[in-house]
């Protein structure tokens, strides 16, 4: 483990003084439980996890569960709307692109989606900041709205991060839905539906969208995972004090307990989203029950 956490608890000067005074140093090490065998330390950690007690953050000097309770909602307020938005937009775009996918304009748009998906989200965020905040002055330069801010201020602060995440995730969903649609449009029932003379909208909703709903659900779960990972980096670019920003700070401050707890929470959210999607697709799709 690089960096003795004691340095970050005391600051370098006090650490330097403490290390010349072995008795004091040992007493302090014992106070934080850093002298116990690693297995014991891990056991204590595991047991307190079950009590939702993530311990104490060295750098913030506060209970970690408090910090997370403050910051997880700030990440969710970014990821959930952008995920929903990109699922709706991406499904519509993907369906359009997948049907008669050989046409040149559609192929160009698909290529653009692939290109956008290979842009780093945080770089997109930096470009947005440069353009909308620095050059045009439409949005704040980053950070979260102050407590008790007006609705307009909140929207202003949220708009750019949301836009970045929505663009990125829409591109991803479009690519996947396009693939699903191409696969489904080769099925015999599609030809049957077309030969009945169904209208375009009716046809695409009932015969293209409906069979692709279950894979879309599991996509939603994967999406949440991506959105979280993407959001972590976007948060850093916008100094948006959510989980990603917290992890970043924890990395810089060598605040290992906070880093672990942040990861555990993020993983928990993503895994629950997956479990939820699995349960939903089990309930909705008769094919998955066989």
């Amino acid at each position: 483990m690089p960096g003795d956490p004691m340095i970050f608890i005391f600051g370098e000067e006090v650490y330097g003084a403490a290390i010349r005074n072995p008795e004091l140093f040992e007493a302090l090490t014992a106070k934080y439980g850093l002298n116990l065998p690693l297995v014991d330390q891990f056991w204590i950690y595991l047991m307190s996890l079950f009590r939702a007690d993530f311990g104490y953050s060295f750098s913030y000097g506060r209970q970690i569960s408090e910090i997370i309770a403050e910051r997880l909602p700030l990440t969710l307020i970014m990821t959930v709307p952008s995920t929903v938005l990109s699922l709706v937009a991406g499904t519509a775009i993907g369906l359009t692109l997948g049907w008669e996918s050989d046409r040149l304009p559609k192929r160009l748009v698909s290529a653009a989606c692939v290109a956008v998906h290979s842009f780093p989200t945080y770089w997109l965020a930096m470009l947005m900041l440069l353009f909308f905040s620095l050059w045009l002055g439409w949005a704040p330069i980053g950070g979260a709205p102050p407590a008790g801010a007006s609705f307009v201020a909140i929207v202003q602060h949220l708009s750019l991060p949301l836009l970045v995440l929505a663009i990125f995730n829409t591109a991803y969903v479009s690519i996947i839905v396009r693939g699903l649609t191409i696969e489904i449009s080769e099925e015999p029932f599609v030809i049957a539906a077309l030969s009945k003379g169904l209208g375009k909208l009716n046809f695409s909703l009932r015969h293209l969208l409906k069979p692709s709903l279950p894979p879309l659900l599991s996509l939603f779960a994967i999406e949440m995972g991506f959105a979280f990972s993407g959001a972590l980096l976007v948060e850093i670019a916008f100094s948006w004090p959510g989980m990603g920003y917290t992890m970043w700070q924890a990395v810089i401050e060598r605040d290992y307990p906070l880093l672990q707890a942040s990861f555990t929470m993020v993983a928990l959210v993503v895994v629950s989203a997956n479990a939820l999607a699995d349960a939903l697709s089990y309930a909705l799709d008769p094919r998955s029950r066989s």
Partner: protein, 279 residues
Amino acid sequence: MKRFGYSPTGVEWAGIALILAVFAMALLSFLPGGCFGMPSSIPYLPPSPSNFLGTNDIGDDVLAILLQGSRVSLSIGLLGATVSTLFGTVIGVFAGFMGGTVDEALGSITDFFLVVPALPLMILLAAYLGPSFMNVVMVIGLLWWPTTARMVRARARQIRGSPFIEGLMGVGARKPYIMFRHVLPNVWGIVLARFVLAVSSSILLEAGLSFIGLGDPQNPSWGMMLHFAMTRGALLHGAWWTFVPPGICISFSSLGFILIGMGMESRYRSSTKSIGDVS
């Protein structure tokens, strides 16, 4: 190109062009220093004939750093992809061929890593291991194999069920021999496609880790240029030339590998459909 059995599509040509551009940048970086603009003592100099891409916060030439960075990003991309593809292939072939408990055990490990969000886990691991070139490679390699393992497993499973393997088992060929000489060559197509796609992901992941500040400070990459632009105020200064070029490089190099990988994967899929029907 016809000699290799196929001619690349337009999309793949685009990918090849992008990748060649990155390799060219990496080669250019070996030219003696100062070829592309001397470090100037003036920070945030905008692009000019003497410094094509301007200077950064400490007055270094951005183009020179960009070329240096191409070496780091490209080598981490290739090495990380090698490690992860190797892992995925070994696990996939083993699980698919052995079947039974081995398959189930490896399958649940794969599922675990597939569900846990990769980037946060990488941040955690990289933070513990400390920033160094090899650590970044290992972190990417050790966490980016599950998809490869899954696809290779499915293919290995398919081959396992085909008559020629049954025949080999019948004449008493040993399992390691069958795995290496008969299963592995048949999954090669998917492994290559996955490798190319993994290079693309590794470049992006390395950039992400470096952007957070977990990259190797001795080998600054494109991601680290973005990190410094963010933390040292180039963004707030409006010095777009310090962070627009590295971002373009990251995007286009990973795009190049994605385009080729996708082409290979779809080609592979259409070529194996008929084999799958037979077995």
